[in-house]
């Protein structure tokens, strides 16, 4: 069965997501050189970047993010675009920091896997709901799409078709399923959470015991006493020549969701390439 990583980038005016995708793919290939990476994008990928991707696929159909600054809505189409039978999907502002071959074995037990808990850089489970009020108030599953896994199968076809429907008709779904607290813009996390709740598959897609998750660097969930808005300006970090990442001198492992675009400085890009 073919397997690989999926990265999604849509052209936008705010951030160089393609550069992030290159870094993400380079980090995957540092630790897992044989792993296949597919980039789904509407950007004409420059020649110097093409070597980082084994597959480059266009985003098909109508642009679902035409009115959105944050170009993620079309991510709901990845199921049909993926060239792999088993896919791990990552946010592009992530780095892989070690070989995760054993994750594939664990993920084999699932048709569809999402994480509902993430970690701080101090390796603590995040308990702060600051960014998750829509989920808490509406009793939605606390899904993080930054890392997820799917197999090509009938159930997942149905699931992703539903996600597409929610994204296309977000206003109606939102009115019905996020009555207590509504988010005006459609995020993949909320759309996916509604789909999981509607199908009642929480018990199938989450694990209470699994460590398959990522380190999330959004500042309000790090248990700081002070208000830190940009962690990259407050914390020492170093990606050394052994490809080890230290944040505040704490070694990071697994998947690292750095969030802040300025994290990806020239030194880290050079080190990854």
């Amino acid at each position: 069965m073919s397997r690989g990583f999926i990265l999604f980038v849509q052209k936008n005016d705010n951030c160089d997501y393609l550069k992030q995708a290159v870094a993400c793919s380079a980090s995957i290939k540092k630790f897992m050189p044989k792993e296949q990476v597919c980039l789904i994008t509407d950007i004409a990928v420059p020649d110097q970047y093409k070597k980082y991707f084994d597959h480059i696929k266009d985003i098909p159909g109508n642009d679902l993010a035409i009115n959105s600054d944050w170009k993620v809505n079309n991510r709901c189409k990845i199921y049909n675009i993926s060239p792999f039978e088993k896919s791990i999907v990552l946010d592009v502002d992530m780095l892989l920091l070690e070989n995760i071959e054993h994750w594939w074995k664990q993920l084999d037990n699932y048709e569809l896997y999402y994480t509902d808990k993430v970690k701080t850089y101090r390796n603590e489970w995040v308990t702060n709901n600051y960014y998750r009020k829509v989920f808490v108030e509406n009793d939605l599953p606390n899904v993080y799409c930054g890392f997820h896994y799917f197999k090509k199968c009938e159930n997942n076809e149905q699931f992703f078709n539903l996600v597409i429907d929610i994204v296309e008709n977000y206003e109606q779904y939102s009115k019905r399923y996020t009555q207590n607290k509504t988010q005006s813009w459609c995020s993949m996390d909320v759309a996916t959470a509604i789909a999981i709740k509607l199908l009642g598959i929480q018990h199938k897609v989450f694990s209470k015991h699994s460590n398959l998750t990522f380190t999330h660097m959004k500042p309000r969930i790090q248990n700081y006493k002070s208000e830190i808005s940009l962690w990259t300006e407050q914390l020492n970090y170093d990606f050394n020549t052994q490809n080890e990442l230290f944040v505040a001198n704490i070694r990071q492992h697994g998947l690292f969701h750095y969030v802040e675009p300025n994290f990806l400085n020239d030194k880290i890009m050079e080190q990854l390439q």
Binding site: R122, N223, A248, N249, I250
Partner: protein, 270 residues
């Protein structure tokens, strides 16, 4: 295997640590029935004391100033408790409990350390006995963005290659404190044993948190130097907290950070 307790006491003009150590040793003998070794640079009463061994060492000359509070009273003085990283080389025992002289034993719980197979045990959390104080939450990490705190107030070690390396590393961190406090983003310039121990443990664990070392079998309870120490009688301590609440505890080990207040009680007790 020999077992015992190691105490460090270096007096200054504000606190008679040797007197405190003698009281602390008396409580150890009463509840733990263990020999006590005092490490000091000061004079002690050779005829009347609770120590089994005394090692005289040169006075550490750190020039570090500490503020000693006794509720609203404030005194600034030199703080000389930097020889603790030498516990490995100074202890006469194979298995040692090291404790601050203001950690007062009031039960036999700590004897359980000798039943464990661990080579090092320490506390990661300290709990104010009012269970409300903000200090407990504030002292979770070495700094707001830093690693998890640990408390060198009381710890246990067995002499092994690993603990030898641990103490070597703690000494190195102490000697290169400026570098390590920068690396671990600790704002306070003053060297602190708790921080050096936390950093060394973090480094020994390859810059992560692991299951080593485990926690002591006794939770670290404390009162601060803003709390008043009212009395100690029949294993019962009476305190008045900063906010005015009075509290009594019996048969509990307690870290009494109000060193001046503690010494006043010791004077009455003796």
């Amino acid at each position: 295997m020999t077992k015992g307790v190691l105490l460090f006491a270096h007096n200054n003009s504000t606190v008679d640590y040797v007197k405190q150590a003698n009281f602390c040793a008396g409580q150890i003998k009463k509840h733990l029935d263990l020999p006590v070794c005092l490490i000091t640079s000061d004079k002690f009463n050779e005829d009347h004391n609770n120590f089994n061994h005394v090692k005289v060492v040169p006075k550490p000359n750190t020039q570090q100033i500490k503020t000693y509070n006794n509720v609203n009273e404030k005194h600034k003085d030199f703080w000389n408790n930097t020889s603790r990283p030498d516990a490995y080389s100074l202890t006469p025992y194979d298995e040692t409990i090291v404790m601050d002289t203001d950690y007062i034993v009031n039960n036999a719980n700590l004897n359980k350390v000798f039943e464990s197979n661990e080579d090092f045990l320490i506390n990661y959390k300290a709990q104010h006995i009012d269970f409300e104080s903000r200090y407990t939450e504030e002292m979770k990490y070495v700094s707001d963005v830093g690693i998890e705190m640990c408390w060198a107030t009381v710890f246990y070690f067995k002499k092994t290659e690993r603990t030898k390396k641990l103490f070597q590393l703690i000494n190195h961190i102490k000697n290169e404190w400026e570098f390590y406090r920068f690396a671990y983003q600790i704002g306070n310039k003053v060297y602190r044993n708790d921080f050096a121990f936390a950093i060394a443990i973090h480094m020994m664990n390859n810059f992560n948190k692991t299951a080593w070392p485990k926690q002591l079998p006794s939770k670290l309870f404390y009162v601060t130097d803003k709390d008043s120490i009212d009395s100690f009688k029949n294993n019962k301590w009476t305190f008045t907290f900063e906010r005015g609440t009075q509290c009594q505890i019996t048969d509990m080990n307690i870290h009494i950070m109000n060193k001046i207040g503690l010494n006043k009680i010791i004077d009455q007790y003796e």
